[in-house]
Amino acid sequence: MINKYRWWEIVGIYLGIALFLMFILAPFLEAFLVSMRPLNRINSIPYKIVTENMSFEAYFTMWENVPRLARYIWNSFFIATCVTIIVLIAVVPAAWAFARFEFKGRDAMLAAFLAINMVGGAVLIIPLFQLMRNLGLLNTYMAMIIPGAAFLIPTAIWLLRSYLMKIPRELEEAAWVDGASRPYILLKVILPIAMPGIVVVAIATFIGAYAQQFLFALTFNSNSDLHPLPVGIYQFFGRQTVVWNEVMAASLVGILPVLIIYIFLQRYIIAGLTAGAVKE
């Protein structure tokens, strides 16, 4: 075994990790503490980390006081789910094409897909706004779903392509020799074997779609009934009296679903996320 740490090295490492994690987790801790404080204690000076009368009350009262909160959470889920479905429909065949077939312009197209990752939605906001207006999609779910999906497709293609390349091609060739058509092979041979990879892509896409619901909703939608949670809460900020403990409670409830998914599937998610950045 390689040299062991001396005691002061171990202390140093734990101290370093503690500092590092404090930076990462402090906002969550702060949000939790604020959500637990009674409203008249939030604005108390001097600052105290723990104040008297902490309770979960805000988590119950927020459903009445933050208008449409349940609706916002539902919208967030609905938008992220639709984005994931569209991405999968587009990506599964595309990734198969890139992984298995040889055709003119394949590498150039693959690189072009990669290049899409370099342009953020905000850069293209003007023509996108006009496009949504001309298609009559402003103030509909579609205005948030379609652009959201487009920007998640490239990473998903890369992720699934590298997974499909690891599947032995003999299986498909055997089916081909037996006279199966190519659509049949895609649906009945590839889809079942690639399921684990597709699930990873679906989870990564869902989390991405859930995380990025701000710009398009802010710009293309002014119908409060359709807003996803981040924009719903953001609009709440402008009001005269912001009920901060309930806003923080709502924020925490809004991130809970992704945190739960993450805790159970973190190994796959980390693999998915890092593969998206590695690009080979």
């Binding site: 390689i2 370093g16 990790i17 590092f20 994690l21 930076f23 990462i24 987790l25 402090a26 906002p27 969550f28 001097p46 600052y47 980390i49 967030s76 587009a90 065949p93 595309a94 094409a97 077939f101 040889e102 055709f103 897909f113 290049a115 899409i116 370099m118 342009v119 953020g120 905000a122 850069v123 293209l124 906001i125 003007i126 023509p127 996108l128 706004f129 652009p147 487009a150 497709i153 293609i157 091609r169 498909e172 060739e173 081909w176 995380a211 990025q212 701000f214 981040p230 953001y234 923080m248 924020s251 809004g254 991130i255 992704v258 945190l259 996320l273 890092t274 950045a277 590695v278 080979e280």
Partner: protein, 298 residues
């Protein structure tokens, strides 16, 4: 799969159709349309006219050079901090101490939760009267009184940087950690047998071997940071007095808040030009690395 199907393949193109259709409509066409609009005086009025380079002359005679400088300064500080904190974090999480797999799980949340919601939390933290940072700093005697972090130009500028670092660090850390873990333990053991200290091994083995990963991540991170919109918009909307107005924020304000599509498009085209040069750099680096690893395999 040449064996499958004799005639020239149309099939792969059919497979690509859905993905191509969406990305062409939502990314490629808008990109070209932005370039076209940048040469027009498009606004809310129903007609638009071709006006040549007038938009570009206009923006460059105004505050635009200053905005470019600020954007690069903002990006440089943010990316350097992300890389430094990321390397340190990856080093710490790579050390063989009990509990490390648990600590690794705790790193990721800022990256996976909705960015906007994470930024709401920061907005409260930066509050001078009741926020945690100002409060704790006063308790520790660092600050004499309440300090509104988003209230003045310098404070707002660096506060948005810190939040951007917070969002970006998990990805950098996890990516570099993966790079560190792919280093063969044999290398470290051989060096250890020869009497190399831990610091020496870090400098001569770990650091050179993760350098390609640091370079790749640094460049990707620069591209993402350049595109960053949500963080600044939610914290300051580009204020106070323009101190956090980066190129993206500037474009959005011109185009969407003030409905000057032509002028906004000219600003967006400048962003695309910068982004393309980053992208070109990134692709060159990837292909250089691919070639080098091929040579090593021989």
């Amino acid at each position: 799969m040449q064996a499958m199907g004799g005639r020239p393949n149309v099939f792969p193109y059919l497979l690509l159709l859905p993905a191509l259709f969406i990305t062409l409509a939502i990314v490629a066409w808008p990109l070209l349309e932005t370039v076209r609009l940048s040469f027009t005086d498009a606004s809310l009025k129903p007609t638009e006219e071709f006006i040549g380079f007038a938009n570009y002359e206009k923006i460059f005679s105004r505050n635009f050079p200053e905005v470019i400088g600020r954007t690069f300064y903002w990006m440089a500080i943010s990316v350097s901090l992300k890389m430094i904190v990321g390397v340190l974090g990856a080093m710490l999480l790579n050390s063989a101490v009990p509990g490390r797999s648990f600590f690794r799980v705790l790193v990721m949340p800022p990256w996976i939760v909705p960015i906007a919601i994470g930024v709401f939390m920061w907005r409260w933290m930066y509050n001078g009267q009741f926020g945690m940072i100002s409060g704790v700093a006063q308790h520790l005697g660092i600050l004499a009184g309440p300090y509104e972090f988003l209230g003045d130009r310098t404070g707002a500028f660096y506060s948005t940087v810190v939040t951007d670092v917070w969002v970006g660090t998990p990805m950098v850390t996890i990516y570099l950690l993966a790079a560190m873990q792919s280093i063969s333990p044999d290398l470290h053991e051989a060096a250890w047998v020869d009497g190399a200290s831990r610091w020496y091994r870090f400098r001569r083995i770990t650091l050179p071997l993760i350098m390609p990963a640091v370079a790749t991540m640094g460049l990707l991170s620069a591209i993402w940071t350049f595109n960053s919109f949500d963080i600044i918009w939610i914290l300051t909307e580009g204020g106070p007095r323009g101190s956090t107005t980066t190129m993206i924020i500037d474009t959005y304000k011109t185009a969407i808040s003030r409905n000057r599509y032509g002028e906004g498009a000219a600003r967006a085209v400048m962003i695309v030009i910068f982004l393309s040069s980053f992208a070109a750099f990134y692709f060159c680096m990837l292909s250089r690395m691919a070639r080098r690893s091929l040579n090593n395999d021989k």
